[in-house]
């Protein structure tokens, strides 16, 4: 690192891009100085905590996976608890209410058990909020079961498919396993964060988890390629340049997702954006700390082996 800097400094004209690049590398330099043992252990510990959390408290299933009725009212600004009491009293069934907001609109979602007629809820709501816009959906538990099975199947097969593709591309058990584990850990941590923040597992969030596989593999393949096929002088240099790229990638995607989250009031789009944000944060750690740790350890050992031969 120091060597690269002095050499680069000898060049007189320094472009702005290069300056920024060096500053970024300096900032990310702490990652290089990390011991590869702790680089592996810390993310592993977080993965285990997330997994334990999930066994205790799995995210609640959305109505599309377990059945139920939901009425969404747009243009309603109300205290969820009061509204829940009001609606429950009027229809004689216990309902749950949550509120949401986008950039220009506020609203509430009213969850009721299967068999409730959504039109009666809307009628009751119209008394209080005649100008609100209503939509409703309902799912029978039997179909929820089917959707659950489909979701599980889709995730398992997508995961296996991903693993096969990664192994075919790298033909290296250590780096491939590290990538597959990173993907697993990303999904686990994203799920754990969903349960912490009370985000439901729905068909939409399952799609987001699948999408996460794509993003995870993106950054991990980048890292693996840069380190294993490196042409830079040292592993540290290669790592540093890769992590800078990774940092740019993650922050850009995160920025776009945050905009999406702020603007939209559609539950489908919101929940997909949130889950992707969780996953990308987890992915930053899993790729650039965990997987990097594994690779550095692997390269060290391989180089040591080569010297012996």
């Amino acid at each position: 690192m120091a060597k690269a800097k002095t050499k680069a400094n000898k060049k007189k004209p320094q472009s702005a891009t290069d300056n920024i690049w060096q500053k970024k590398q300096k900032k990310l330099g702490f990652l290089v100085r990390m011991n590869h043992k702790s680089m592996i252990m810390i993310p592993l510990a977080i993965f285990i905590i997330a997994a334990l959390l999930l066994t205790v408290h799995f995210p609640t299933l959305g109505i599309d996976l377990q059945g139920g009725v939901v009425v969404t009212a747009y243009g309603v600004n109300a205290n969820p608890d009061d509204l829940a009491k009001y609606v429950s009293r009027e229809i004689g069934t216990q309902v749950r209410v949550e509120s949401f907001s986008g950039i220009s609109q506020k609203g509430v979602r009213i969850y009721a058990p299967v068999g409730t007629d959504p039109t009666t809820i809307i009628k009751i709501m119209r008394v209080k909020y005649p100008n609100a816009e209503y939509t409703h959906s309902e799912v029978q538990p039997t179909f929820g079961k089917i959707a659950q099975q489909q979701g599980i199947k889709a995730i398992i097969f997508a995961f296996l498919g991903m693993a096969v593709v990664v192994f075919l591309f790298f033909r290296n058990p250590v780096s491939s396993s590290a990538i597959v584990f990173s993907a697993l850990s990303d999904m686990t941590i994203a799920l754990a964060l969903m349960s912490v923040f009370g985000i439901q597992l729905t068909t939409a969030t399952i799609a987001a988890l699948l999408m996460l596989i794509g993003y995870t593999v993106d950054s991990n393949i980048l890292l693996t390629t840069r380190l294993l096929k490196r042409k830079e002088d040292t592993v540290e240099d290669a790592y540093l340049s890769a992590v800078s790229t990774g940092f740019t990638m993650s922050t850009t995607t995160l920025g776009a997702l945050v905009v999406l989250l702020l603007v939209s009031t559609s539950q489908v789009i919101d929940s997909i954006a949130v889950v992707l944000i969780f996953g990308l944060l987890a992915d930053f750690m899993n790729t650039w700390i965990f997987n990097a740790g594994v690779l550095r350890w692997y390269i060290l050992r391989k180089d040591a082996g080569r010297v012996k031969k």
Binding site: A4, K7, A8, K11, T17, D18, N19, W21, D64, G102, Q105, P118, T119, E133, Y134, T135, H136, S137, E138, V139, Q140, T142, F143, Q150, G151, K153, A154, F157, A158, G161, M162, V165, L210, M211, G214, Y215, D218, S219, I221, L222, T225, K229, K231, E232, D233, S241, T245, T251, T252, G255, A256, L257, V258, V259, S264, T265, S266, V268, I269, L276
Partner: protein, 513 residues
């Protein structure tokens, strides 16, 4: 410099991108995008048969649902079988939750089939014992079927000496209803248009009055309350509103539920004739003229309906429709609505605007963040605009394959753009890294650096496509859109936009130094 510019513009990757881009824009202009129910407004229903069925039965169920929903007065209906037990029904332009609920009821009820002759019902769906394969000869069709012995006897008695008189078939006729319609429709229904070959026979209006207790009245701006009051006085179960002012119709719908009345609102579709509207509202198939062989007073169980159409293909369609209608009353499986989603059109419009704002906002975010990272608009602008091109091409392909754009599809486009930006950053850094490495050591040429970048891109594209394919295969319903647009985006990315971006970046960054 100029020479390099020229060679950049002549590069096939750039030319290809430009052509595809122009093609996409042209496609979007000629054939505007169509939207899913969650954007255009409407109701989507997931229907399950009580047990798995064969493809033949499934086709019959799908067609009969289509016929029956047409009767209900809704347009833009798609009914689509998925696998051997699930049917997706999407109905656009449904504006109230009550209408949506009504559609659900129609699907869950068994279709009600009647055969009626001069105001007397002589057979129901149960009397249709078997429908045989239909025959087509040129533009003529025949549907043979067998009715029960009692129905055959009843008909023989009714039709004795009445050759040429009209026989009507009804599917889901609005029994015991007050039917409010404009004068021109009223007059048509009471004319001899529906009398087959016998002008002196009772008119269609007289027949349905007698057989089904339908009371037609002329609409002359009665209020919602007046309409409901009249229906109550006549002890009707339902109100059918034909071409009635939509505000009044909405009021009637809202007030009718409390009075235990169901409401059907039907409006004349563009290009729909008055006669077509009347047959649609009543669920009428026919009328068919009684053949001379059936007017002899001898009961015959094996009968057939004949007709002709402008050409062979429409003859087949007509025969198929009639065959399905005949079977509907005795459909072999029960249907249950297991999932349903209703979005009002105004809300859908809202979502669409949000998606557009979100898209523009996300692009600006990408532009700014990329600029912050590189402090160089020569990098930020190409990255953001390549993403924009990608969106346009995805939309162009979507309109080309007539994909209905729904919210999950939009989320898929956004996801694809996200990975797209990531990959462009990989390319950029490889190029910049190449320059930097050039100062340190010249170990890796430009070509090999690009090769490395494209290895990363190819590997991640393959995994995304593989992962999403499983979603496509294993998911029923709405998330298909997510998978389709993601896969499209990734393929367009590796095939068109990524190679072009690499060329542009090479050109711009080389100019840097």
């Amino acid at each position: 410099m100029r020479k390099r510019k020229k060679s950049l513009l002549k590069n096939w990757r750039i030319i290809f991108l430009t052509l595809v881009l122009i093609g996409s824009i042209a496609t979007l202009v000629v054939r505007p995008l169509t939207y899913g129910i969650d954007i255009s407004g409407g109701v989507a229903l997931i229907v399950e048969t009580e047990k798995p069925v064969t493809t033949d039965v499934m086709n019959t169920v799908v067609l009969s649902l289509q016929n029956r929903l047409n009767t209900f007065g809704v347009k833009d209906i798609t009914v689509e079988a998925q696998g051997n037990q699930i049917i997706l029904v999407k109905v656009a332009n449904v504006s109230t939750a009550e209408q949506a609920q009504g559609i659900k009821q129609v699907i869950e009820q068994q279709g009600v089939f009647y055969m009626e002759f001069l105001g007397t019902v002589f057979a129901t769906g149960k009397d249709v014992e078997q429908v045989f394969p239909y025959k087509i000869q040129d533009n003529k069709w025949e549907v043979p079927f067998r009715i029960s012995k009692t129905a055959a006897e009843k008909f023989a008695e009714l039709a004795k000496g009445k050759a040429g008189y009209p026989v009507d078939f009804f599917l889901d006729v609005p029994e015991n209803s007050l039917m409010v319609m404009p004068k021109n429709i009223y007059d048509k229904m009471n004319s001899t248009d529906f009398n087959s070959k016998v002008p002196t026979a009772p008119t269609l209006m007289e027949r349905v009055k007698k057989a089904f207790h339908i009371t037609p009245v002329v609409y002359n701006n009665q209020s919602a309350d007046e309409i409901i009051k009249m229906a109550k006085q006549l002890k009707k179960e339902r109100i059918v509103l034909i071409n009635v002012n939509s505000n009044v119709a909405k009021q009637v719908e809202e007030k009718a539920t409390a009075e235990n009345l169901t409401v059907r609102t039907v409006t004349q579709a563009k290009g729909e004739s008055e006669n077509a509207l009347i047959t649609r509202v009543l669920g009428l198939y026919g009328p068919y003229a009684v053949g001379s062989g059936l007017a002899e007073g001898i009961p015959r169980q094996d009968v057939q309906i004949e007709g002709s159409a402008p050409d062979r293909i429409s003859a087949m369609q007509e025969a198929h429709t009639i065959a399905t209608v005949l079977q509907t009353g005795s459909l072999p499986v029960k249907l249950k609505v297991v999932g349903m989603e209703f979005i009002s059109p105004r809300l859908g419009e809202n979502f669409k605007n949000q998606a557009v704002y979100a898209g523009i906002g996300a692009l600006i975010a990408v532009l700014l963040i990329v600029y912050l990272h590189y402090r160089n608009f020569k990098i930020a602008i190409p990255i953001a605009s390549t993403s924009l091109f990608e969106v346009i091409i995805i939309l162009g392909v979507a309109s080309l394959i007539k994909w209905n754009l729904d919210l999950p599809s939009i989320a898929g486009i956004i996801a694809a753009i996200g990975t797209g930006v990531d990959q462009q950053i990989v390319i950029t850094d490889e190029l910049l890294g190449g320059k930097r490495a050039g100062r340190i050591s010249k170990r890796l040429g430009m070509l090999r650096r690009m090769g490395r970048a494209f290895f990363v891109i190819l590997a991640s594209a393959t995994t995304t496509v593989v992962a999403m394919s499983f979603l496509l295969v294993y998911f029923v319903g709405s998330l298909k859109g997510f998978a389709v647009t993601t896969i499209l985006g990734v393929l367009i990315g590796i095939g068109i936009t990524r190679p072009a971006y690499a060329e542009i970046a090479k050109y711009l960054l080389a100019g840097e130094k």
